[in-house]
Amino acid sequence: MNLNFFMQNLINALQWGSFYALIALGYSMVYSILMLFNFAHGDIFMVGAYIGLGVSLVLLKIVGSGAAALVPGWVVLVATILISMFLTAFVGIIVERVGYRPLRDAPRASAAITGLMIGIILETSNILFLGGQRLAFPQLIESQTYNLGGVFITNKKIMIVLVSIGLMTTLHQFVTRSRWGMAMRAMAYDFVVVPLVGVPLNTIAVMTFAIGSALAAAAGILFGLAYPVLDPYMGVSFGWKAFVAAILGGRGSIMGACIAGFMLGFIEIMTVPGIQIVNRLFELNIGSNLRDLIAYSIVLAILVFRPHGLFGEPYSAKLRL
């Protein structure tokens, strides 16, 4: 495997990893404060992508497209991302309010299946309202390919990775610098003391769902730019894989979710050239359709050696009354 080939795959891995990391953050943040996995999160990613589609179509209608457009495509893109993040945050808030809050003190298994139900409701509502056919995501910016010494990079890939890292940095700032972020970190340890120092639990819970959903929406739009076909079930496999990233990162760890997201992208992408090398060396004929099998076996092996994930701590029950 020569260096160019490796770099090419690395860039693809960074792009895939961005999607996983952004979605995994939502799982991790909600888990760390409420001790529940929001299994509807993959479908919130799907809803975010569709909201992005709707917003971008409306914006394109207003400002026009092509040469006659009032503003350049990237302005529409930035506006689409921001507006869709805002709108999808409300989807997350509704999911928390309707689906999870009534079950705050219920067994965790009940909350988990609630997530699955909400996911199914979101998927089938999409089919109900939009007919279930695949929809094309408008290409808001001109695709350009740069040749850097034999490595081909598109402007979209660069943009996707930079926007993702930008969002993660912003989140990090928020969590470490603001009072809400500090409250989120404290809530990762208990439900009892945090309110007794004046912090409203429900406000923090709602905020966590809103932020997680907004990040999923950003992932949905970025995904739509890279792979411009949306379908109602796009959130299912993506959701599960991002969930794997959240576990791999360590339950509840924000840093872990980001790094594991990128790592998962890397493992998935690199498995294909890996298979080719093994085939050539040992004259085998392993198909690249075994990619996920092999990639997730690697993940499984990592978890055997690090059962708490990369940045997780040994499980300890959270203080609650």
Partner: protein, 256 residues
């Protein structure tokens, strides 16, 4: 009028009557002690007053304002600060962050401020940090402000809890067995700090404590709780000589 007043508070856990017809008055600047055997319901009373549980019956008035039924965070913001029998710290946060977060209710910069670092946010955060450091100095651990709480010795961890409780600017400070598990040396320091808080800040304090010597020395008034009922209330002298208290609680112990 009493700063904290509890009238006829009764609480049931399912069919179990945990607290029965409990009354309390704490005046400004007073230290009141609550003693009683294990399982008498002392911590339950703290939990009821701080809003973790809502009492089945009765009224709680803080500064004349009814607070029963309010969410714990509202009650804390109105002026009840508390420490815990078992240490309840946030393991991976620094000492300073514990105290800073307890200022939550009095921060009023918005989301935009959090993201873009407005001047108002900077002013507030600077003020909160300064005040947090002052509180840590007050409880004698100013030099540990930037440590993680896990690195501290036990006695210092208890002081972090104390500083955190003070940060909500309590009108009444609730201390749930502040010296449990402490060495004699740490115990002496903690008593010194409680006295200092009482004298310097004029705080009213409500204290659960098992070490009778400490209760007798610190408190102006003591309640004795047995099976969720106050069986005796009075000055340390009265309590020490009350046959009901001796029978119910001090029976096997001697007061030194």
């Amino acid at each position: 009028m009493a700063l904290l007043r509890v009238e006829h508070m009764t609480h049931y856990f399912g069919g179990l009557r945990a607290v029965h017809d409990y009354n309390l008055e704490i005046e400004a600047g007073q230290i009141v002690g609550l003693i009683g055997p294990n399982g008498a319901g002392k911590t339950t009373i703290f939990n009821l007053l701080t809003g973790i549980h809502t009492p089945s019956e009765g009224r709680i008035l803080l500064d004349g304002r009814p607070i029963n039924g309010l969410a714990p965070n509202r009650i804390a913001a109105l002026g009840l600060g508390r420490t815990f029998q078992n240490l309840c710290l946030w393991r991976h946060m620094s000492v300073l962050d514990h105290v800073r977060l307890a200022h939550y209710a009095r921060i009023d910069y918005g989301l935009a401020g959090a993201f873009f670092g407005t001047a108002r946010r900077h002013r507030q955060e600077a003020r909160i940090e300064a005040r947090s450091r002052e509180l840590l100095e007050l409880v004698g651990i100013g030099h540990l402000a930037d440590q993680g709480v896990l690195n501290l010795p036990y006695g210092a961890q208890r002081r972090v809890e104390l500083a955190r409780a003070l940060a909500v600017a309590p009108k009444v400070l609730f201390l749930d067995e502040p010296t449990v598990g402490m060495t004699p040396e740490e115990l002496g320091q903690m008593m010194g700090i409680i006295r200092q808080l009482h004298q310097q800040l004029g705080l009213a304090i409500f204290l659960i404590e098992h070490r009778l010597k400490m209760v007798m020395e610190l408190c102006q008034r003591i309640q004795t709780l047995v099976f969720g009922e106050v069986i005796a209330e009075g000055t340390p002298g009265q309590i020490q000589n009350d046959p009901r208290v001796i029978e119910a609680y001090l029976g096997k112990e001697t007061v030194d």
